[in-house]
């Protein structure tokens, strides 16, 4: 069951990663084949990376496949474990609310600063955190209403 939001986030993530790949590749080409290094590529790729991290965390919450340590709680009986999971979710939501608030504050105070090479506001970097946190909160609430048992693949850990 994929909501419109899942699809939009999925496409945004794919575009982000493809964009990062192209940017870094182009920078290598310009430096070695054309001998005119681009100065803004590292900054832009790192900026996209921050967005990928915080927006991508939405998927982890949506499919409940984020990394956690269940070594102890697997010994709890199922109903108690469900209640605990709900409590943890509420705790995470409280933290997310705090992060959104502080993230927006930080974005506002850094808006006048600029990246040295790109000459755009550093606020675009700090904005990724509160936006990502809002998405994560939505992901948690969505996972309550429409649980998705086929958790995202376990692939991709080092």
């Amino acid at each position: 069951m994929q909501s419109v939001m899942d699809r939009v986030v999925g496409w945004a993530l794919a575009a982000c990663l493809a964009g990062m790949t192209c940017i870094v590749f182009v920078s290598v080409i310009f430096r070695y084949l054309l001998n005119s290094p681009l100065i803004w590529t590292e900054e832009l790729a790192s900026l996209l990376f921050a967005w990928l991290t915080f927006v991508g965390a939405y998927v982890g919450f949506r499919s409940r496949s984020h990394i956690s340590i269940d070594t102890l709680v697997i010994f709890l009986p199922a109903p108690a474990r469900r209640r605990l999971t709900r409590c943890v979710d509420v705790g995470v939501l409280l933290l997310l609310a705090l992060f959104v608030w502080q993230g927006i504050k930080l974005t506002a105070t850094t808006w006048s600063l600029e990246f040295p090479a790109m000459e755009i506001s550093r606020g675009f970097l700090y904005l990724s955190f509160p936006i990502g946190c809002i998405l994560m909160a939505i992901g948690i609430v969505q996972s309550w209403r429409r649980p998705r048992p086929e958790a995202a693949s376990q692939e991709g850990r080092p």
């Binding site: 290598v28 991508g56 709680v73 376990q154 991709g156």
Partner: protein, 425 residues
């Protein structure tokens, strides 16, 4: 300090997502102190991923997954078959060698385990090997992946400590080859005891054809490692070049990758990257507070009060990591403990490159041990065997890996020889 560590352990035990256990403990600590504005939470976490070095993580993931989906892994298996298939325990050796070569292209053990397991387990079962033996071997062999460069854990370690990722990559070469050799020795012993036969060598013409068809694939390690070690590209850029080459190879050359397939893959890799980098971002905040509290120094003093000898320290650290490796997720240990351990390591004069490789190999063994072992669970679900069976069957392979760990811990030259030879002191 008690608050930071205590709340972290409590939240982790309650099954909080690791990233939120770290940020949560930090928030509680900041609220209790009251003199540091909470806005540092947002600032430290965001800056934690604003790093060009860490960018290599999604690219090395992507390269590994592209190889799995694009038919590149299959060519590697054929190649290994031609080279070592005739030794007693044939397909077992093929598994080890495939993973060693794959390790030279991908940076993730779990990607390697899934990719080679999907091809090799059915092949081994069909050839008459027990299912659980095949699964245990693929799992053990996949841990070579992050030790032979490129390697995601090395990138994370380098990103946290500032140690050159290129040096770490070079330092992993010999230990990774040793892991392969020891695993092949273990396969041979098991095969002999249980009477597994060799499948026989391939006919020369077929062997040559397999090797010929794998040549474009073998260019991978040449591009990645050659590029990094000659100083032409940074590890991050090399990872991107590898991705572009993998797209070219699987999309245009082998024609096993479609555009919708590529989009699905990008989304999956992005989501999997976020799960790890979000933890690294949170560790940026948590590690900063630990350092402010002087926790690394306390840790160092504690260890030094037991012994001043580097070899005893290394033994204690290795045992600590092996135990933690059973209980906790690899990335979590790596990001939480690396900054804490660095103080100790530099004080007793252990080379940080040497230690980075020891740490990584140690944590890779943790991927195979219950109750928390990522590769263990991938293999168990892929091969449909039980955790107990897997663990029993994997014991001899883990023993082989622990022997290699001991070797590289106490013969530092095995690690440091290559980096010094190629990149100087």
């Amino acid at each position: 300090m008690m608050v930071l560590v205590g709340v972290l352990l409590l939240l982790m035990a309650l099954d909080f997502p690791v990233a939120f256990a770290m940020t949560g403990a930090s928030v509680v600590y900041l609220l209790l102190r009251g003199d540091i504005p909470l806005v540092v939470v947002a600032q430290r976490v965001t800056v934690g991923v604003d790093s060009f070095v860490l960018l290599a993580i999604p690219f090395f993931f992507l390269a590994g997954e592209l190889m799995n989906q694009g038919g590149i892994t299959k060519r590697l298996v054929d190649l290994a078959q031609a080279v070592v298939g005739g030794i007693r325990g044939g397909l077992g050796h093929v598994t080890v060698v495939t993973n060693m070569v794959m390790a030279g292209m991908s940076g993730s053990a779990v990607a390697d385990a899934t990719g080679t397991g999907a091809v090799l387990i059915p092949a081994m079962v069909e050839a008459g090997y027990p299912r659980v033996f095949s699964a245990a071997l693929v799992g053990a062999a996949s841990t070579i992946g992050p030790v032979i460069p490129p390697s995601i854990p090395f990138v994370i370690y380098g990103g946290i400590t500032g140690v050159s990722v290129g040096r770490l990559f070079l330092g992993g070469v010999v230990p990774g080859v040793l892991m392969g050799v020891f695993l092949m020795g273990a396969v041979y012993m098991v095969a002999k005891r249980r009477g597994y036969r060799a499948e026989g060598w391939l006919a020369a013409s077929e062997a040559l054809r397999n090797i010929w068809r794998a040549i474009p694939v073998m260019l991978f390690p040449v591009i990645i490692l050659g590029g990094i070690f000659s100083g032409i590209v940074t590890p991050t850029e090399a990872a991107v070049v590898a991705v572009v080459y993998a797209v070219f190879l699987s999309g245009l050359f082998y024609r096993e990758l479609s555009l919708p397939g590529l989009v699905r893959l990008l989304t999956m890799v992005a989501a999997n990257t976020a799960r790890i980098t979000f933890i690294i971002a949170s560790a940026g905040l948590y590690g900063w507070l630990l350092a402010r509290e002087g926790v690394p120094q306390m840790f160092t003093e504690f260890f030094l009060s037991i012994s001043q000898e580097p070899w005893v320290i290394l033994l204690m650290v290795n045992l600590l990591l092996l135990i933690l490796g059973c209980l906790m997720e690899t990335t979590a240990i790596l990001v939480i403990l690396t900054p804490v351990l660095m103080d100790l390591i530099t004080k007793v004069g252990i080379d940080p490159v040497h230690f980075g490789v020891v740490l990584t190999l140690n944590l890779m063994i943790g991927l195979l041990t219950p109750p928390v072992g990522m590769v263990l669970y991938v293999m168990v679900s892929l091969a449909k065997v039980s955790v107990t069976e897997f663990t029993r069957e994997c014991a001899i392979f883990m023993l082989a890996l622990v022997v290699v760990l001991g070797l590289i811990t106490y013969v530092p030259g095995l690690v440091t020889f290559l980096p010094i030879l190629v990149m100087g002191k």
